[in-house]
């Protein structure tokens, strides 16, 4: 089995279990506020790390290359309230153009 399939399998099973855990097992109980607070901050922390690593990491090296230009272009598109797909496309096109130059 390839790594991709193993990831698909484990993430799929884990997500299905996470989604079902509340409705099937726990009824209407609530989590303690501190736990709830930390869970709410998982997404911003992880997404920000994914942005950073996706732009400056090349294996184990920190580099500043065409991807940084792409991300800046995406930031501009976001400021202009462009839809997500446009933001992503702008980043890809800007990066590709820098590589052509």
């Amino acid at each position: 089995m390839t790594a991709a399939w193993a990831v698909v399998l484990v993430v799929g099973v884990a997500t299905i279990a996470l989604k079902a855990s509340g409705p099937v097992l726990l009824g209407g109980r609530e989590l303690p506020p501190r736990v709830q607070g930390a869970l709410e901050h998982l997404a911003p922390a992880l997404l920000a790390a994914l942005v950073a690593a996706g732009v400056v990491a090349s294996g184990r090296r920190l580099v500043l290359d065409a991807r940084a230009v792409g991300l800046l272009a995406a930031l501009v598109a976001l400021r202009l309230r462009a839809p997500t797909l446009v933001v992503v496309a702008v980043a890809a096109v800007a990066t590709a153009l820098v590589r052509l130059a």
Binding site: V7, V11, G22, R60, A66, L78
Partner: protein, 265 residues
């Protein structure tokens, strides 16, 4: 636009504008998953089972960066941990035996949850109607993207490696709004002014998502040179502990906030 009725098709109707956005979003997952070397079938199976965009993109991104199985899996699962409390918040309205509740719970995704939220209470038919439409759109989009991926050339030449961080940025930005502005069910971009502005403690508290994001970046960048790809992402999850800090002892609210993820899964 708030849904008017409470039938299944009212939920689907309310989610229709979102579904229109979810199809190309699913396509971009299909394309990027292929460029990350996931092949044709596994991205489709992932969309059918995981049905949560940010986690799927995270897994594909880490696999594409050579991060390996454990890192890709853990990062994706951490991103989906929020479905624990989100599932809890709708547990009261789902009906039927354990199997029926299990199946219905799979249609809970950020957008269907947001559509079905009526001031903190949830409408079962809206939730399921919206969820079914979004699920179908996400799956069809992924299939189309995987097929389109065959037609595209070298992912780096097309700048697709920069598309991943741009997407994560687009998912992140709506989550960074000040805390006072996040009452569920209200679109509110301008209420930063309404957040209490007295002193650094209350500033940090109302901008805790931003603090978590900055800490997450710092952790990830520091660890890139000294750990395998993927590990910096997982370590960055420690930054979420800022959310456990409650200087005034108040809780985070009874229901999890979806925080601006209305447009995507």
């Amino acid at each position: 636009m708030p849904p008017h009725g409470s039938r299944y098709r009212d939920g689907a109707a309310a989610a229709l504008p979102l579904a229109v956005a979810v199809i190309p979003f699913g396509m971009s997952f299909g394309v990027l998953a292929r460029s990350a070397g996931m092949g044709r079938l596994s991205p489709v199976v992932m969309s059918a089972t995981t049905f949560a965009g940010s986690a799927q993109f995270a897994a594909a991104s880490i696999l594409g960066a050579g991060g390996g199985l454990a890192a890709a899996t853990l990062a994706a699962v951490l991103l989906n941990v929020r479905y624990g409390p989100i599932g809890l918040s709708v547990a009261g309205v789902l009906r039927g035996g354990p199997l029926a509740r299990f199946v219905q719970a799979q249609l809970v995704v950020d957008e269907s949850w947001a559509v079905a939220n009526r001031g903190g209470r949830f409408d079962r038919k809206l939730l399921l109607g919206a969820g079914a439409l979004l699920y179908t759109s996400w799956l069809l989009g992924t299939v189309a993207g995987v097929l389109a991926g065959d037609l595209l050339g070298d992912p780096e030449r097309l700048g697709l490696d920069a598309a991943f961080p741009a997407l994560f940025l687009a998912l992140l930005v709506p989550q960074l709004r000040a805390r006072g502005s996040r009452s569920p069910g209200q679109g509110s971009r301008r209420s930063d002014a309404a957040a209490p502005a007295a002193g650094p403690v209350s500033w940090l508290r109302s901008h805790s998502a931003l603090v978590a994001a900055v800490l997450g970046v710092a952790i990830a960048v520091c660890l890139v040179p000294v750990s395998p790809p993927g590990v910096p992402i997982i370590a960055a999850s420690l930054a979420s502990l800022v959310g456990a800090w409650r200087p005034d002892g108040r809780g985070a609210g009874a229901t999890p906030t979806v925080r601006g993820q209305e447009e995507r899964s």
